[in-house]
Symmetry: C2
Amino acid sequence: MQNKSYKVEIYVTMISEIKKSGGKKMAKKYHVVIIGGGPGGVATALSARNTYPEKEILLIRKEKTALIPCGIPYTLHTLEKVEDDILPDASLEKNKIEVKIDEVIGANGRRLSLKSGEEVEWNKLVLAIGAKPFVPPIPGINENGVYFVKKDINYLKELKERVEKSQRVLIVGGGFIGVEMADELLKKGKEVVIVEILPSLLPLSMDPEFGKMVAEELRERGAEVHIGVSVKKIGKGPSVKEVELENGRTIPTDLVIVATGYRPNLGLAEELGLEINERYGIIVDEYMRTSKKDIFAVGDCVAKRHFLTGKYSKLMLASSAMAQGRLAGSNLSELKVVKGFLGTLGTFSTKIGKSAFASVGLTEREAKSSGIDYVVGTYGTVDRHPGKLPGVSRVFVKLIFARYCHFLLGAQVKGGDSVGELINMFAVMIQRKMTDMEIDTLQIGTHPLLTSSPIVYPVINATVNAIIKWYKK
Amino acid sequence: MQNKSYKVEIYVTMISEIKKSGGKKMAKKYHVVIIGGGPGGVATALSARNTYPEKEILLIRKEKTALIPCGIPYTLHTLEKVEDDILPDASLEKNKIEVKIDEVIGANGRRLSLKSGEEVEWNKLVLAIGAKPFVPPIPGINENGVYFVKKDINYLKELKERVEKSQRVLIVGGGFIGVEMADELLKKGKEVVIVEILPSLLPLSMDPEFGKMVAEELRERGAEVHIGVSVKKIGKGPSVKEVELENGRTIPTDLVIVATGYRPNLGLAEELGLEINERYGIIVDEYMRTSKKDIFAVGDCVAKRHFLTGKYSKLMLASSAMAQGRLAGSNLSELKVVKGFLGTLGTFSTKIGKSAFASVGLTEREAKSSGIDYVVGTYGTVDRHPGKLPGVSRVFVKLIFARYCHFLLGAQVKGGDSVGELINMFAVMIQRKMTDMEIDTLQIGTHPLLTSSPIVYPVINATVNAIIKWYKK
């Protein structure tokens, strides 16, 4: 639907442009044109600059300023202003990437028509056109007082103002963005309600026992957490005053924030005639090449398969987008970096209250539903040693190994701030197909003020816990 | 010298034992006997328990309580009491490892004589007999008021008392232990002098630019740092009052702490007739097997070669000792874990003032002196994003890659507390022979409150910095 009106709009604009220019229009030529200014677009631009030190590279984005996507929840409280979450253009400027604040409204061969009336020509085109919030089919969802998590600075400013005026906020969706917003609103002293349709929080990235820990962190600070229940109706206009759940319960609220995931932006891909999967995004090969020569796509707009299961994955992450962007930027002409992106791995981290949570690869639930024969290893300890040192947090690690080939398939962690880097160590292990035995004899560094003791180092001890089970089988 | 008197002592003891028992003595039999209660001994014991769920395992150590070696500097100030640095016996008890507080004073075939008069017999013997402080040949080094960093609780208590009474402390040696002690003494409000013979602090594990940062952290807080100069003389007795440097300078002090490295304990290895290298330790193969059947050795007492250069390495680290211990414990009978220890990697981390420092693999200096053709990549940024978030630290990463085979060879980092885990990610990369191109397209996780932004993630950006140099060569 949306798509048709989009095409009409382009058509009208193009006609008027052609008229204005007397039917012929000069187009500025660029070697590389990238559409989209998020992490995937920026990574592609910087990487393309390394590949082509001398050629002209253009990045077109709609937004005057680009936002750091994962910083958006923190604009509600921790960051004073939404503007503090801006992705600076300094690295683009330094690398002589031309930036146009404009919108592509039409495409013809190697020529793009922009909203400003300008036209540009490309040799290599990269789509990094991102995703838009998914709008669940709930009656009342378009009511005044219902907000989505859009990557739009003015919209977010309005949301922030609205939050200031609200006493009670209900969040639909208990994924990362939902729980991060709940955490921010609690810090702000608001009354917070969170509703998740699946049976635990963070359902896509962590197993239920971790979801439970997150719920406890939120409940302890006064949040109302409803899991395994969907929203039936948002009422009553003109501004929202209550939300009705499927179980019959009615919850009063001053504001609703919907954080139920994203869907790829596909309008321009259709316009260009690219192959797409309506649900997951633009079809690309492992070099980020679309179905049309010299057109690449990266990031949230791209259909991704999971690194381990090979199935389509719903995950949309800046880190995957950037890995794809660096790969595309390196390989625009010849293949410099061979087989770089072998599927999305899903490396997350977040902080709720004083605890950090992180996950990479498969959860136990995913392993089970993918029919994988796995062994679980767990270990809990403290992240400083001896435990009497200041700044100690409890850390808990859960690992999933393939029973027969012994590869590490997934890791989930709760702990202190260092979990943010700990999870990346696991990400390296999975990407390099490390086995339990290799982790068992790994040489790591430890320090009293920075890590767990070598004797209880949880990465190795959780692995040993899995090995013992495997021995006994 | 020491060794001869040791043999005489054993001889006398054995004779008297034999007399006492009428020439025959009952020995309790154990499947595995481990000598030494440090990290290497404990790791071997726990791992051996997994290998032999039912058999008798004995761990013999001299010390009533074992200390956490890397926690020792923190007994000076951060930990209230030296006893707070104890390695708890809980995991040994839980795993039914018998612990004897005793000393091995003689060995005959598969029988060991203990100081208590007891004798024990082993099927598999593991030496984890550690190291002792190196005593540099400086006149006055045995003066009252000169302390070493011994793993001995009563000695350390005495040192702690002595520190309390001193206003001014001079530390000989600017390696990790030296700078950590300096940091602790500064926190305690003492006047601190540190003297390092090599041209920068942390000379074995970090390049001079990092040594300089450490010196700045200490100097800013009032420490006197002397580098590239040796100590000529410690005077004047009966208690130390001043230290004379090779450059003629005389420095007054109330106390001297010598932290100039360790040498392997070898007496018992000689007694057992094992092959040894006098400087580096007991000779073992890659399964930690000594030159005698069924005798293994792990940890500081073992001669280690560097993972990358193959040369003998001076490094003595709990993390290497534990990797060796887990390997030895798994492989006491059949080889369960194949080729597990391929040389010592040297993964360190520490915290000086508010900054953490860490290193793994080769420094640039070592790469150069080993004749390796390398490329350096560096990157500096902040470890939260956006940079306006609270708790931000600057982070600086230096990476060394092999120019032709592209493997990561070394990493050095200065930053906030998460550096403790970041360095372990690099340790995994080196052990799994990851190349620059693989790191370039790595999928990592980032979070505003926990890590750098994906766009400036220093692990990848330092790698890209190296790749660009390599392209241009």
